[in-house]
Amino acid sequence: MSNFFTHHPSSYRDPSGFVFEKEGTLYRQVNISFKENFDFFIESGCYRQLAEKGLLIRHEQINKNLTGEDNYYTTLKPEKISFVSYPYEWSFDMLKDAALLTLCLAREALDHGMILKDATPYNIQWHWGKLIFIDTLSFEKFNEEPWIAYRQFCENFLGPLLIMHYSKMSLPQLQLAWPDGIPLPVIKSLLPKRSRFSFHTYLHIHLHTKVSASQKNNTVAPKQFPKQKMLNLISSLEILVKNLKIPVQQTAWSEYYEEASKRNDYLEQKKKIIHEWLNEIQDLKTAADLGANEGEFSQLLSSKNIQTVAADFDPYCINKLYLIIKKRREKNIQPIVLDLSTPSPAIGVNNEERNSFLNRTHVDLALALALVHHLAIGKNIPLEMVASFFQQMSKYLIIEFVPKEDEKIQLMLSGRKDIYVEYDEKYFEQAFGKYYTVRSKQSIEGSLRILYLLVKI
């Protein structure tokens, strides 16, 4: 076996080890400098307990130097994550649960004489229906020092959650603006003055900001920080995070299905057609439900054991879907907040650290139901460009064409000039015909809409 491998572009910060890809498989190398901590992590039973509780990704230890590097200690082969998502694609309760998971891990680690040295949401991923911690090398011996990841936790989790809580708005975009965490002074200035009267908020944000600013140029020797103090700190953060919430908001898209189902069995008809098509296509394992709303069709895909990414630009719908998935322990649906007219970009060092949505998304089937008119008419994106976008992510595409005569488009056009002279069934077929062949085409009874099953050329 050759020593050729590719260093994962996001795995460069931690000197304990790194993630690399070799012959299509992802591994994690543990460096010799981290030997003592890693052995302790395994021997103390910390790993076993976290893995058994489903808090940390399981791995297989391979005692083989696959990189050929001198600083090798051991190699781990973690379970594969099917679709990588980032905190700027999560809804409020997803970020909140990720924060609680981080604190739970810190507490569990302490029970084994260890501490969590990183508190970044990028170490958390979606795996079989829930959030899971993926960085196995984030645990080191607790030396009775203050928490090294405290500021990181406050800036990456607490800050965005508090801003959303006090503004009563879902703002996943904040994480994209500050991918390494919102600086404490920014968090403080975005929070209302009354937030000072919340004891735990005062301690972790207001006081934290003040003390940090006053200590900028002084080097302070690490203080003694016994386990009980650390547990108190974690408890305080837990109490604060658990009490944060955003109100359930009625957006233009909530209750969509309820309204849609009243339209002459429209929803049932659509489900029936898609159900039949799904039975016809062989070997469907993964799908992306684009414009998923509250995930009615994602659940149809999931019932066929298809792992589905359910994307919608409305964070309130995605939050609702997340809470349903959590309650039902649904394993096949991963909800993400995503604006399809401006999908998540590639960010970070070399623009490679966090992959763009399109580079990450390669599925067997894409579902675009009641969506195309929002892109073509709502956002003025020509249908050729919409078709080109979809063809990059899947072989099969189930798409719904909504003609201009449809009441919903008439509503969209009521307040603006109709410049979409070309927009009709023929133009739609021409545009998508550049990339796809039509395998099936069926009108949805009781409406003017048409469903297409397209296969990429």
């Binding site: 808090l55 301690l203 920080f225």
Partner: protein, 54 residues
């Protein structure tokens, strides 16, 4: 310590934890006494679900 190389904890974030933990020590001490007294006079409740959130 190697971890200083990749996370800058900001010296203030260390100091503030010492102050915060001091304040929390006092608050939790009295909270525990309150809970103890409350538990003494009330029937034991079914323990709430402390399972991890994810």
């Amino acid at each position: 310590m190697h971890h200083f190389l990749y996370i800058d904890p900001g010296s203030g974030s260390y100091l503030v934890q010492v102050i915060v933990a001091g304040a929390l020590g006092v608050v939790f001490f009295f909270r525990n006494i309150k809970n103890y007294i409350k538990a003494f006079f009330t029937r034991p409740n079914k323990k709430s679900d402390d399972n991890p959130p994810a």
